[in-house]
C-alpha cells in the first residue's frame, strides 16, 4: 500500500457521551497515544453537518483513516459511509456509557474504558488499509447450468428473460428430465381440481428457440475450475470431444434419482409385475393416454388400485429414506385421478399415515380427490402378497384392526433420492497429511456432477439426507461453494411447480453472484465487502491449514503446497487467518495487526491497582449485537471489559490470545455462534473450528504458568442478551478468585 497514512479521529459528544466522559481527554488520547493527525469533537456527529466535517477532512486534508468514536458500528451505518478510506468505529455509547452506572465512583473506570476504546480505534486505523478489489475480477456473466430438466430449463429461460446467457449441460440425450416422464402434473392454478399438462414440450421448444441458451446433450462436466466470474468448465460430450467455456456462476439442477424400490421385498416389488412405483405408473398412464390404464402382468384394465404412501420413506430402516419426499401425497391423488377421471367406478384407495398436501393448492387438490371418490385410509401396510392379484395387508389405524384387500394394481409412493454428486464430507474433515479419525460416515456413492477442481472436493457439500441444501432458513440458496447454487430436487425434494419457483430463485442468485464477482464484491453474508485475504509467501510454511479449514473450499494449493487464493470464492470470514500458525494471512482492513495492535493499545494498570482487564472477542453477527442490545437495555457489565468484534470466531488467531496474556490481560472471553449439527455460524464451521483450536490454548496457558480459567469460549446466540453480560461479570469474579495476571509491566 503506497498511501501515506493520515488518521482523523472524530469524537461525538451526543447521546450523553460528553456528559459522562471527559471528551477533552479523549481527544488528547487520540492525538497523543493514537497518533491521530486530526482530532475533532462534534455535538452530533451523525448529523449532516457532522458527516460533512469528516468528508471535508477526507477531501481537503488527506485523511484516509477515519476513526469515529461515537455509537456502535451497528448504529448510523447509513450516515457514516465514506469512499476510499479505512473506516473504524469505536464504540463509546453502547460499549461504554450505556453499560456503566452514572455515578461518581464509576467515573474513573468509565473514562478509562473510553480512553482505551479511542486508543484501540486509532491502533486499528493505523494498520487498516482501504480495501480494494484484487484485480482478478470476473470476465463473464454467463451462467452454467448442470442439468436439463425442468429446473435447469427454467433457470436458463428466466435468466434469459433478464438478458443473461446460459449453457445447459445435460447428461442424457434429451431435455425434460423426470418431468418428461410424467403423464400430467399436480395442478398449479386455481381451482387446483384436476391434473395439468406438464408443459414440458413447450418449455423444451422455448429453450431451443432462445438465442441466449446453448444446450449440450449427452454431455458432462469433466472439470470445473476457477471461481465466480471466471469459472472455466470443460464440457465433454459422449463422443469424447471437450469444449472449454467461461462462466460467471453455476446453477446445479441435477435433479433426483428414483428410490430403488427393489429393497422393498415385503411389498413384492420385483416379484409381482403389478406392484409398480409412481414413476412406473406414469409410464402406464402415458401409454393409456386418457384411456383405461392396463396393468403390466396381463394387460387387464385396472379396476382397483391401492397407493401405499411413504414406501421406503420416513423410515430409519436400512436402505430406506429418512426424509419425507413431500410431493408423493399429491402425486398419488393425481394418479388416483388418472383412474377416476377415466372411469369413476374404479376403486382407488390411498393408504397413508399423514396426508401431506400443504398450502392453498394442496388442500384444494386433496378435497377434489375426495370429491372424485378417491378413498383415503389411514393405515400402515405390512406386506403385499403376490398371487394372481396382489393383496395388501395393512393395519387400519382408524378401525384399529389388521385387515387386507385384494387389488389389481399396487402403486408404491417411493421418494426422491438426491442426485447431488459425490459426497465431499471426508475431504472436508480430513487433512491428507494427518488423516483424522472423524467417526463420520464416509460415502462416495455417486459420480461427480461438477468435477470441481477444488482442494476440498469435486462437488457442493451435502447436507441432511444427501441433499445439496443450504443449512439456513433465512438464506436457503447459500451453499458452501460460492457462486454455485443448487435448484430443484437435488436441493430438497419437491414437485414440478416448486422446482420452477426454486430454479427461478436460483437463477436470481446466480445473476447476483456473477454481477458482484465482476466488481470484486463478496457474496453473502458479507455482501459487498471488497476486502480480500492475501498471504506473505516468504513466511508461509506450506502447512495447508488454511486450505483445509476454509469453510467454502476457496483456497487451492499449487504444486509446492502454497495456498492459491481465489478472490470471488472467498466469503471474507478470515477462518484462514485464524488457521495460520505463522500469521502470514491478512485482509486490508482486518488482519493480525488490526486486532493485535488494538489489544496491545489497551492501557494495562499495574497489578496492585486491582483493575483487571478482560478482553472479549465477539462474533460480529451474533455476540456483538447481543452486547449492543444489552447496552440498549442499560444492562451493566464490568468496566474492565474491552470488546473487539471479529468477523467470525474462526478468524481468531491464537497469537491474539498469547499476546493478550503477555501484555497483562487477566481474562479473555471468546464469543462465537453455536456449532454442531444445527450450527448457526454463517460461515458454516468458523465457530466450530475456533472451538477446536481453543481446545489447545490450555497448553499455551500452562507454558505461561497461567490458570486455564483465564481463557473461556462460549457459544452465543444473538438473543443471549442477558447471558453475555453475565458471562463478562462472571469472568470478573473468576479473576477476583484466581488473582490478577502476573504479566503486568
Amino acid at each position: 500500500m503506497s498511501d501515506e497514512m493520515k488518521i482523523g479521529a472524530y469524537i461525538c459528544k451526543g447521546c450523553g457521551i460528553a456528559d459522562r466522559l471527559d471528551v477533552g481527554q479523549l481527544e488528547m488520547t487520540a492525538t497523543r497515544d493514537g497518533k491521530a493527525a486530526i482530532c475533532k469533537q462534534h455535538d452530533f456527529l451523525c448529523s449532516e453537518e457532522g458527516v460533512k466535517l469528516i468528508q471535508d477532512d477526507i477531501d481537503n486534508e488527506g485523511v484516509n483513516r477515519v476513526v469515529i468514536a461515537a455509537c456502535s458500528r451497528r448504529a448510523k451505518t447509513e450516515a457514516f459511509q465514506f469512499e476510499n478510506v479505512a473506516l473504524v468505529r469505536t464504540n463509546l455509547r453502547e460499549g461504554v456509557i450505556w453499560v456503566r452506572p452514572d455515578t461518581d465512583e464509576a467515573r474513573e473506570t468509565t473514562q478509562e474504558m473510553g480512553d482505551d476504546y479511542v486508543r484501540m480505534g486509532c491502533a486499528e486505523a493505523k494498520y487498516a488499509h482501504p480495501p480494494k478489489p484484487s484485480g482478478e475480477q470476473g470476465l463473464t456473466r454467463a451462467i452454467l447450468i448442470a442439468g436439463g430438466g425442468v429446473s435447469g430449463m427454467t433457470a436458463a429461460l428466466e435468466a434469459s428473460k433478464a438478458g443473461y446467457k446460459s449453457t445447459i449441460v445435460e447428461k442424457s440425450g434429451s431435455l425434460g428430465g423426470a418431468t418428461a416422464q410424467l403423464f400430467k402434473k399436480i395442478p398449479t392454478k386455481a381451482p387446483y381440481a384436476d391434473p395439468e399438462d406438464t408443459g414440458v414440450d413447450e418449455m423444451i421448444a422455448a429453450v431451443e428457440a432462445d438465442p441466449n441458451i446453448t444446450v449440450f446433450l449427452n454431455a458432462t462436466l469433466t472439470k470445473t475450475a476457477g471461481a465466480p466470474g471466471r469459472f472455466e468448465a470443460d464440457i465433454t460430450t459422449e463422443s469424447g470431444s471437450t469444449e472449454t467455456q467461461m462462466f460467471g456462476s453455476i446453477v446445479q439442477a441435477s435433479g433426483f434419482k428414483p428410490f430403488d424400490a427393489s429393497v422393498l421385498t415385503e411389498f413384492s416389488y420385483g416379484k409381482s409385475k403389478d406392484v409398480v412405483t409412481q414413476l412406473e405408473l406414469e409410464a402406464l398412464a402415458k401409454e393409456a393416454n386418457g384411456g383405461p390404464i392396463k396393468r403390466p402382468s396381463d394387460g387387464k384394465e385396472v379396476s382397483s388400485v391401492m397407493f401405499i404412501q411413504c414406501a421406503g420413506q420416513r423410515s430409519k430402516k436400512e436402505g430406506h429414506l429418512e426424509h419425507c419426499s413431500g410431493y408423493c401425497c399429491s402425486a398419488s391423488i393425481k394418479q388416483a385421478m388418472y383412474f377416476k377421471d377415466q372411469n369413476p367406478d374404479i376403486d382407488t384407495v390411498v393408504l397413508y399415515t399423514d396426508l401431506r398436501t400443504p398450502g392453498a393448492g394442496g388442500e384444494n387438490f386433496y378435497r377434489s380427490g375426495q370429491k372424485k371418490g378417491v378413498i383415503f385410509t389411514k393405515g400402515v401396510a405390512s406386506e403385499v402378497v403376490h398371487s394372481q392379484n396382489p393383496t395388501v395387508k395393512f393395519k387400519d389405524l382408524i378401525l384399529d384392526e389388521d385387515t387386507e384387500v385384494e387389488v389389481d394394481l399396487v402403486v408404491l409412493a417411493t421418494g426422491m433420492v438426491p442426485n447431488a454428486g459425490s459426497s465431499t464430507r471426508e475431504e472436508l474433515t480430513a487433512d491428507e497429511n494427518e488423516a483424522k479419525e472423524t467417526g463420520n460416515e464416509i460415502r462416495i456413492d455417486a459420480d461427480s456432477i461438477l468435477n470441481l477442481d477444488y482442494r476440498q472436493g469435486k462437488d457442493v457439500p451435502h447436507m441432511a439426507n444427501g441433499f445439496a441444501d443450504s443449512h439456513f432458513i433465512c438464506f436457503p440458496y447459500e451453499t458452501q461453494r460460492t457462486g454455485i447454487y443448487t435448484a430443484g430436487p437435488t436441493r430438497r425434494p419437491m414437485d414440478v411447480q416448486q422446482a420452477i419457483d426454486d430454479a427461478t430463485g436460483a437463477a436470481m442468485k446466480a445473476i447476483n453472484e456473477a454481477e458482484n464477482a465482476a466488481l470484486g464484491r463478496a457474496a453473502h453474508p458479507r455482501s459487498g465487502d471488497l476486502s480480500f485475504p492475501s498471504f506473505r509467501k516468504e513466511g508461509c510454511t506450506q502447512c495447508k491449514r488454511c486450505t483445509v479449514e476454509c469453510p467454502f473450499g476457496a483456497i487451492n494449493e499449487d504444486e509446492e503446497g502454497y495456498p492459491v487464493y481465489n478472490e470471488s470464492r472467498c466469503r471474507r470470514c478470515g477462518t484462514c487467518m485464524g488457521a495460520c500458525p505463522v500469521r502470514v494471512i491478512s485482509f486490508e482492513n482486518y488482519s493480525i495487526d488490526t486486532v493485535g495492535q488494538q489489544l496491545k493499545a489497551v492501557d494495562i494498570p499495574d497489578e496492585f491497582d486491582e483493575k483487571p482487564r478482560i478482553l472479549v472477542l465477539a462474533c460480529e453477527n451474533d455476540a456483538y449485537p447481543a452486547l449492543d442490545m444489552a447496552a440498549q437495555n442499560k444492562m451493566e457489565y464490568s468496566a474492565f471489559t474491552r470488546i473487539i468484534p471479529v468477523r467470525c470466531l474462526g478468524s481468531v488467531s491464537l497469537s491474539w490470545i498469547t499476546d493478550s496474556m503477555n501484555s497483562g490481560f487477566d481474562g479473555v472471553i471468546l464469543m462465537g455462534c453455536p456449532s454442531g449439527d444445527d450450527y448457526q455460524c454463517h460461515f458454516v464451521k468458523g465457530s466450530g473450528t475456533a472451538q477446536e483450536r481453543m481446545g489447545k490454548v490450555g497448553d499455551t496457558l500452562e507454558s505461561l504458568s497461567l490458570e486455564k480459567e483465564r481463557v473461556q469460549t462460549y457459544e452465543i446466540s444473538i438473543t443471549d442478551i442477558q447471558k453475555v453480560t453475565q458471562i463478562i461479570n462472571d469472568m470478573e469474579s473468576t479473576i477476583e478468585q484466581i488473582g490478577m495476571s502476573p504479566f503486568k509491566f
Binding site: 451526543g14 399423514d354 400443504p358 392453498a360 389405524l397 432458513i473
Partner: protein, 428 residues
C-alpha cells in the same frame, strides 16, 4: 420525501418483512433501484416476533441482523416505513403508485438515545407482543428495530407528554407537527410481499379463545418465550401466572375447515412441534404436551424433527380435531372434548394451557388490493401473466414457511428485474 427518485426502472417492493427484504436486497445488489414500502414503523415483519425457527431452533433475529446490515450498506434501497400503497395503476414497465405515509413524529435526526422515552409515562398496547403487554408512548418497536428510530404514538400528540418528549430530545428529532403525507411514485415492476396475519381465533367459537384466559394462540405463545417479551420469557398461563407444564396444542385451528380457512397453512404443524420443545426444555420430565392433529405435515427434512419430538416421552400425539373446549371453573383449566379417531375413543382432557395453532391468511383481504390481481379462492396471489408486472413474494403467494417464502421472494426479484431490464433496453 420529495427527494425520492423513482422511474419506470424502479422496483417497488410492497411489504418489508423477510420476503420483501429478500426481494429488495437481491434486486438492489445487482444494481436496481428499489423502494420498500412498509406499513409498520420497522422492517422485518412477522419473523421478528418469532422466538425460534424450526427445525434448527435458531433465532430469527440472527438472519435479520444480516439482512439489515445488507440493507443499511446498500444505497440502491430506500425504505419508507409507516407507509402504505393506497393506489396502484398502470402496466408492466409503467406503474404509478400512491403512497400514504403516516407521521412518525420523529425524523432522521433520531439517534435512538432514548431520552424521549425517559420522560414519557403513558403506556399503550404493545403490537410487537400481540398486545399482551404495554409499551411507552415514545418507543422503539423492539430491540433490533430498523430503522433504529423512535416512534411517538399518535395518541400522545397534543398532550403535555408529547411536549416533554420533544423538549427532552437533544437532537431536534421530534417533530410534533408532522402530517400525513401522500406521495406519487413511478415503478417498472412491483413485488407484492405483504405477508400474512394470524387467523382471528375469536371466530373459532367452540374453542372459547374469547372466553377462556388459558386458551391462547400460537403466535402469542411464541412471544412468551422471548426474555424481552410479555412474560419475560416465562412459560406461564395468563389466568394466574402458574407455570404451564401441561400444555395442549390444537392443530388446524381455523385451517382446513370449511367454516374458516379452507387451506392448510403449512407452518402450524412444525410450529407446534417446535413449541413443544419450549415446554419440554423448560420443564423437563414435568412437561406434559399433547398435540391434537389431523395429519402431521412435516415434509422433507422436517420429518427428522417430527421423529425427534415423537421420541420424547413427554409429548403425546392424538389424532383428533378437538370438538370443543369448556373451562373447569375451579382451576381455570381448559377441558378439551372430542374423539381420538384412532380406535374411536372419546376423551375429556384437562390441561393447564391450550395453544391454538392458528393458520395464516393473507394480510390483504381480497377486496383491499389497490390493483386488480388474479387471486385464488383463498386470497393468495396466483403466478399469472394477467398480473403484468406485479409479482407475489412469500406469504402473499401461498401459505409458506420462512425458507420457502425466501425462495419465493428471490424468484420474484428476478421476475421484477426482467421487467425493468426490458424497460432499460427499450429506453436505450
Amino acid at each position: 420525501m420529495s427527494d425520492i427518485v423513482a422511474t419506470n426502472q424502479t422496483i417497488l417492493v410492497v411489504g418489508g418483512g423477510i420476503s420483501g427484504m429478500t426481494a429488495a436486497l437481491e434486486a438492489a445488489e445487482v444494481g436496481k433501484q428499489v423502494i420498500v414500502i412498509e406499513k409498520t414503523p420497522s422492517v422485518g415483519g412477522r419473523v421478528t416476533k418469532l422466538y425460534k425457527y424450526f427445525p434448527k431452533l435458531c433465532f430469527p433475529t440472527c438472519g435479520q441482523e444480516i439482512n439489515q446490515r445488507r440493507m443499511a450498506a446498500n444505497r440502491n434501497i430506500t425504505v419508507l416505513t409507516m407507509a402504505e400503497v393506497t393506489e396502484l395503476s398502470g402496466e408492466a414497465g409503467n406503474y404509478s403508485a400512491t403512497v400514504k405515509i403516516s407521521p412518525r413524529y420523529v425524523n432522521d435526526n433520531c439517534t435512538a438515545c432514548g431520552a424521549c422515552a425517559e420522560v414519557v409515562e403513558s403506556e399503550f398496547d404493545d403490537e410487537h407482543n400481540y398486545n399482551m403487554s404495554k409499551r411507552k408512548g415514545a418507543y422503539l418497536p423492539h430491540n433490533l428495530a430498523m430503522p433504529k428510530r423512535y416512534v411517538i404514538d399518535p395518541a400522545l400528540i397534543g398532550t403535555d407528554e408529547a411536549t416533554k418528549a420533544k423538549e427532552a430530545c437533544p437532537f431536534n428529532a421530534i417533530d410534533l407537527d408532522m402530517q400525513e403525507e401522500t406521495i406519487e411514485l413511478k415503478a417498472g415492476a412491483v413485488v407484492w410481499a405483504t405477508g400474512w396475519r394470524p387467523f382471528d381465533a375469536n371466530k373459532i367459537q367452540p374453542y372459547g379463545y374469547d372466553r377462556f384466559d388459558n386458551v391462547i394462540t400460537s403466535v402469542e405463545f411464541e412471544r412468551m418465550m422471548d426474555p424481552f417479551g410479555p412474560t419475560g420469557g416465562k412459560l406461564v398461563r395468563p389466568s394466574d401466572g402458574k407455570e404451564a407444564k401441561n400444555v395442549a396444542f390444537i392443530q388446524c385451528a381455523g385451517s382446513r375447515d370449511r367454516n374458516y380457512l379452507r387451506h392448510c397453512s403449512r407452518i402450524c404443524c412444525m410450529a407446534s412441534l417446535k413449541q413443544s420443545t419450549y415446554v419440554t426444555e423448560k420443564y423437563g420430565d414435568e412437561a406434559n404436551v399433547s398435540i391434537y392433529y389431523i395429519d402431521i405435515r412435516a415434509i422433507d427434512r422436517f420429518e427428522d424433527f417430527y421423529q425427534k419430538v415423537q421420541d420424547n416421552e413427554n409429548v403425546t400425539f392424538i389424532k383428533s380435531k378437538v370438538a370443543n373446549i369448556v373451562e373447569n371453573h375451579e382451576n381455570n383449566n381448559p377441558v378439551l372434548k372430542g374423539v381420538n379417531t384412532e380406535g374411536y375413543h372419546r376423551y375429556e382432557n384437562e390441561h393447564d394451557l391450550v395453544v391454538l395453532a392458528v393458520g395464516m391468511e393473507p394480510s390483504v383481504a381480497k377486496d383491499e388490493f389497490p390493483i386488480e390481481l388474479k387471486l385464488n379462492d383463498e386470497g393468495f396471489i396466483e403466478n399469472d401473466e394477467a398480473n403484468g408486472g406485479v409479482f407475489a413474494a412469500g406469504c402473499s403467494a401461498d401459505a409458506l414457511d420462512v425458507n420457502r417464502a425466501v425462495q419465493s421472494a428471490t424468484a420474484s426479484a428476478l421476475r421484477a428485474i426482467q421487467v425493468v431490464n426490458r424497460v432499460a433496453q427499450a429506453e436505450g
